[in-house]
Amino acid sequence: MVALGLLAAGVALRPLEAPAWAVIRAGQPALRLESLKDALGQGVTVGLLGGFRAIVADLFWIRTNSIWEGNDLPGTQTSIKLVTAIDPRPLYFWLNGSRMIAYDMPNWRIDKAGGYDAVPEAVKRRFDEEQSAVAIRYLDNALEFHPNDPLLILEIANVHLNRLKDVETAARFYLQASRLPDAPFYAARIHAELLRKLGRNAEAYAFLKQLHPGLPAEDIGAQSDVVLGRIRELEDELSIPEAARFQPGSASRAAPTAP
């Protein structure tokens, strides 16, 4: 009788609960089954359910760092994922976790395989590619919780550039990041520099000409003088005639578009 009463109440109250639950669920990353499953072994389930997600994740992050100091690859990787499973809200965990995976772990694997002198270049490259793939998957997962966050896109671009040496793909991600709201100004500058590195000077020139008018002169981060300097360098390299050279303040203030 009691169970039937509860069932009837649950059915009757669902129309009241469902709209509120939809709003709440959309606005916050809910605890996931896998995070609780992982956390069960650590004895923190009550803490998580009790509302101590932030402090539990912080304490696990400290533990992650102590495992990381021991160059324990599976332990660190598992611990990084556990931290963001417990509390996916802070970007700090995602960014630093991906850096450990992409930048530190290939070196640990090389050390374990005999050191830099002993390991062939092809194997080193494979380690880089495998760890970069893990890091990019991890950052893609972060984007599910922080959609269109420019810092996450930049981190993906950094992995492509610094670990995979894939300038073309990195340039694409820097451009993508530069177009997002609150993107740091340097994303667009790096995109242009990578275009130059690829030998696409005309594209870089067109991009910077569109970029410069939108840069606030009073913001030191925008580095509008540096951008103007690079425009002048490109004009020299491209042999742009004096009359056709870029005049600050004369171009439209539209956001730069894809080359």
């Binding site: 009788m1 009691v2 169970a3 009463g5 509860l6 069932l7 109440a9 649950g10 059915v11 109250l13 669902r14 009241l16 609960e17 709209p19 509120a20 639950w21 709003v23 709440i24 606005g27 916050q28 809910a30 605890l31 089954l33 609780l36 389930t45 009550v46 803490g47 359910l49 009790g50 509302g51 101590f52 997600r53 932030a54 402090i55 994740a57 912080d58 304490l59 992050w61 400290i62 509390d87 809200r89 802070p90 970007l91 700090y92 965990f93």
Partner: protein, 280 residues
């Protein structure tokens, strides 16, 4: 004079509630848990060094709500079970129920007494957390005025609403514990079952998510039924909504409050039904 010959009385109900409240605040358990929660909230600023991800003020708020939810849940379950069974074990329930007193008056009187105690606990914890946040935000405004160009960042009204909703959630939990106590024989069984139900209510949304993926039709039906039988306590986790977009939606807050009040009524009614069939 039989119970049927006297009408339901709110004054008898309030007498029982008042007595339950006094009994509860005199308990060492209440004072101990209150002290722990208040101590933890007050010490939040000393844990600032542990704060890696979120902003300092968000961390203090998370920490405060963590203390409120953790100790509030423990207090609700333990106090409700203890106060109910103390009446049974001390035989005072026999004396009371031998008089023309409705069992509904007894059960809801107990509930309101516990609910008031939890209300005091929530008010003190939330009040302290808000005072801490106000103090620290003031300090940060002096240190980094550029971050507070548009005034204070924290929506204190929203914090208060979330605190009230947590109180209502504890009300639903207290009603569940009373329902368990109404047919249970021991305090220990009630407390342990109460904690299990708390965990189930927090995780029932996972069962609801999973039922669609269950291939076995019978099992799927059972999982779906479980999603209906237990209230969804994740619904009350509104602290993350504070400071996001336009903040806490009043409509959502009202829906959640209505959900809690309706459940308190239904589960309280079931507790009365179950208690009426019980031999004291």
């Amino acid at each position: 004079m039989s119970v049927a010959s006297v009408p339901f009385s709110f004054s008898r109900l309030s007498l029982i509630a008042g007595n339950t409240f006094l009994e509860a605040v005199r308990q060492k358990l209440f004072n101990f848990l209150l002290l722990l929660a208040v101590g933890l909230v007050a010490s939040a600023q000393f844990f600032r060094e542990f704060n890696f991800g979120s902003s300092e003020l968000k961390f203090i708020s998370d920490f405060g709500f963590g203390a409120l939810i953790f100790f509030g849940s423990a207090l609700t379950i333990a106090t409700t079970a203890q106060l109910f069974f103390s009446e049974i074990e001390n035989r005072t329930a026999l004396t009371l129920l031998a008089k023309p007193l409705w069992r509904a008056e007894f059960v809801f009187g107990k509930f309101l007494g516990v609910f008031a105690v939890i209300g005091v606990f929530c008010a003190l914890t939330i009040g302290l957390m808000m005072a801490l946040l106000w103090h620290r935000e003031g300090q940060l405004m002096n240190i980094r005025p550029e971050d507070f160009a548009n005034g204070r960042l924290i929506a204190y009204g929203d914090l208060l609403v979330v605190g009230v909703l947590q109180w209502l959630k504890f009300g639903v939990l207290a009603a569940i514990v009373l329902l368990i106590a109404s047919f249970s024989n021991t305090n220990l069984f009630t407390v342990v079952t109460g904690f299990f139900v708390l965990v189930i209510c927090h995780l029932q949304y996972l069962a609801r998510d999973a039922w669609g993926n269950v291939d076995n039709a019978v099992l799927g039906l059972v999982v779906r039924a479980l999603g209906f039988i237990f209230p969804n306590f994740q619904l009350f986790n509104l602290a993350d909504q504070i400071g996001q977009g336009s903040g806490l939606s009043p409509v959502v807050a009202l829906q959640v409050a209505g959900y809690a009040v309706a459940y308190i009524g239904v589960i309280g009614g079931l507790a009365v039904y179950s208690f009426r069939n019980r031999e004291i």
